[in-house]
């Protein structure tokens, strides 16, 4: 069993490219070229330099002493929150903007939920002097206002998606429609390991720097590259894909993915795709998604805009289906509590998305010597408004 992509663009039975003909030329071009471009020495040099000097990599692997005492295991936090722009998302946008340049594209579009991917895209577009248009659900524009301001300050145009639940799924639909209408000059920087092949694999490869670093950092600190557990939250699944990537074929490393249960898995207000999802097609990919019997996509819900997505990347669908990963669903309230907890015992205010993964630490009975790495995917600045209105401080 392999957990990586096969030569047809599938993870097991998940993945593929289910796209209308209007997208075919662009997706095919990317598919033909992404591996060879990524392997060019000049691409690698540019990518590595920017990750180092611009993003601030490697990000620290921090031994969280008080968190470890609380959960009675050795808990390390992989500090993606310290990346430039405040989340792991920038690893991917740096890679994709370099890709877009080599494909001769001059106009960039992106979708965003929490606004982190939008900010990371607006940032690299500013850096490279490219036009940038970000689609964002009208609901998300309200709940992630600081990130909307940041995108504007960085020179991007933020276009509201007004259809459906006005969140990430709808922003993605609008971005795809834009790409159909502007096929020649435009590159679509997808923000997670979703969409038609080769996007899930390309984004996973750009994010794989996370587990590449964890390996040598853990070797230095614990004299082994492999932890017992890796925890990550899953919206589309890009930070989890990056944190899992180099451990996929290490069966002793348990992979824990954490999704948003919203008000509760069966409340009707949830984004718990691994439990509620069935096999279908969303945004060009065959994967698990929340849908009605008739195949209409169900509007998801989570307090966290970055996890408010009715699907899951095909890699994760395969990891769940093959039982390689274990999944937990965490509610809004549990995530809010976990965020406050980390702030108070480690002095780190996490993103709401990450807070879901933090709560899941309480759901496993660790052995005292277990080494646990939790991917701290982002910082909580963007969520202050939500935090403040939910805590009685």
């Amino acid at each position: 069993m392999t957990y990586n992509i096969d030569d047809k663009g599938y993870y097991g039975k998940f993945g593929g490219a289910f796209i209308p003909e209007m997208l075919h030329a662009n997706v095919e071009e990317l598919k033909q070229q992404y591996i060879s471009i990524m392997n060019e020495p000049s691409f690698q040099a540019d990518f590595q330099n920017l990750l180092k000097d611009y993003v601030g990599r490697p990000t620290p692997l921090y031994f969280a002493k008080r968190l470890s005492e609380k959960y009675k295991a050795k808990i390390y936090l992989k500090r993606e929150d310290l990346c430039h722009t405040g989340a792991h998302k920038v690893n991917n946008t740096i890679g994709q903007i370099l890709m877009a340049q080599r494909l001769g594209k001059t106009r960039i579009i992106a979708e965003t939920g929490a606004g982190q991917h939008g900010v990371a895209t607006a940032t690299v577009c500013a850096l490279m002097g490219m036009e940038c248009i970000v689609y964002m659900g009208a609901v998300d524009i309200k709940r992630q206002a600081p990130n909307v301001m940041r995108m504007k300050m960085l020179g991007a145009e933020v276009r509201p998606a007004e259809s459906g639940s006005k969140t990430l799924k709808d922003a993605t639909n609008e971005a795809i429609r834009d790409w159909i209408s502007n096929p020649k000059e435009t590159h679509y920087i997808i923000g997670s390991v979703v969409g038609p092949h080769p996007y899930p694999d390309m984004v996973a490869k750009f994010q794989s720097v996370i587990s590449e670093e964890i390996k040598w950092q853990l070797q230095e600190k614990e004299n082994t590259p492999n932890p017992d557990y890796v925890f990550a939250c899953v919206g589309g699944g890009s930070n989890a894909a990056g944190a899992f990537y180099h451990y996929l074929d290490e069966p002793n490393v348990k992979l824990i993915s954490v999704e948003a249960a919203g008000m509760g898995i069966n409340s009707g207000e949830s984004a718990a795709t691994s439990v509620l999802g069935t096999l279908g097609i969303i945004h060009g990919s065959k994967t698990l998604l929340m849908q009605t019997e008739d195949g209409q996509i169900i509007e998801p819900y989570s307090i966290s805009a970055g996890l408010d997505y009715p699907g899951i990347g095909p890699m994760h669908a395969h990891l769940i289906d093959s039982k390689r990963a274990q999944t937990f669903s965490v509610t809004d309230q549990e995530a809010l509590d976990a965020a406050l907890d980390l702030s108070r015992i480690e002095g780190i205010i996490p993103a709401l998305e990450t807070a879901h993964a933090l709560h899941a630490l309480s759901l496993i009975d660790f052995e005292p010597n277990d080494i646990v790495v939790l991917n701290l995917s982002g910082r909580g600045d963007k969520d202050l408004q939500t935090y403040i209105s939910n805590y009685d401080l």
Binding site: G164, G280, I281, G295
Partner: protein
């Protein structure tokens, strides 16, 4: 030979294909609209199965789909509505929908139902050719259904051959790089593209769709293909026309065929 193939054998030009969303504006309008379009001289109907996330469609078709879903339309309901259609109407009908809906219904069951209600063809814009060959092709041909794949200005010559080879009935020529309901008018650049296509040899006849909205664009499209497909403009007329859909069909078709 199904009704689509028969149509193209008998008629080579000015074929008018009208798209509308099943269950719009009201749930039970589907069959009424089919019959009035037929009575008013439409050649072919593309019946849209409403979908929550239609990636290739603009706001007009999206909204009609949302209303239809809200009205209670689904594949199950649609097949029920079409059950007795052939007693009253012989117009060729194509079902257009997104692959996920068909997957959830079940591919074999879907094809069987299409045959049962005597539908003639399919358009599934997000069905990749390799998946078509593996899961659909033999079922479709053994049930005498046609399937139309799409060609766009970006489609390579090599791929055009593949698309023509896999299509039956007709090939759907997307007029421009756009979603449905885009800008009106046909540019000289689009004409160049139509001419380029006409210089190739084809197995199938061709219909031009996307951005065809009135008599002028219809006639222009018909100069460069066997006919054309009108969708969003008709949905807009239905929306404006209110409950008398029969009258809307008559007025709309007359405005195109004047």
């Amino acid at each position: 030979m199904n009704r689509i193939e028969k149509l193209f054998e008998e008629k080579k030009s000015s074929i008018l294909n009208i798209y509308f969303t099943a269950g719009f504006p009201n749930l039970t309008d589907t069959v009424t609209i089919i019959k009035s379009l037929e009575e008013n001289g439409v050649d072919l109907i593309e019946l849209g199965i409403p979908y929550s996330d239609p990636l290739a469609d603009g706001t007009t078709i999206q909204e009609s789909g949302n209303i239809a879903i809200g009205n209670g339309m689904s594949l199950k309901v649609l097949f029920e509505q079409l059950k007795d259609l052939r007693k009253e109407s012989q117009i060729p009908i194509i079902l257009m929908g997104y692959l996920n809906q068909v997957m959830q219904f079940g591919v074999e069951k879907f094809i069987k139902k299409c045959k049962e209600v005597d539908i003639d063809g399919l358009i599934l814009p997000d069905l990749p050719v390799d998946v078509y060959e593996a899961e659909f092709k033999s079922l479709i041909s053994s049930n005498d259904l046609s399937i139309s794949f799409l060609v766009t200005p970006q489609t390579s010559d090599e791929r055009i051959e593949q698309i023509d080879a896999n299509s039956s009935g007709f090939v759907y020529v997307v007029s421009d790089s756009s979603i449905t309901g885009g800008k009106s008018g046909i540019s000289s650049q689009q004409i160049e593209y139509f001419k380029r296509l006409n210089n190739k040899s084809w197995k199938n006849p061709r219909l031009i769709g996307f951005g065809i909205s009135d008599a002028q664009t219809f006639n222009t499209a018909c100069t460069y293909a066997n006919g054309a497909i009108i969708g969003s403009a008709f949905i807009k007329a239905l929306k404006k026309g209110g409950d008398d859909v029969t009258q809307t069909c008559k007025t709309f078709v007359e405005s195109i065929r004047n």
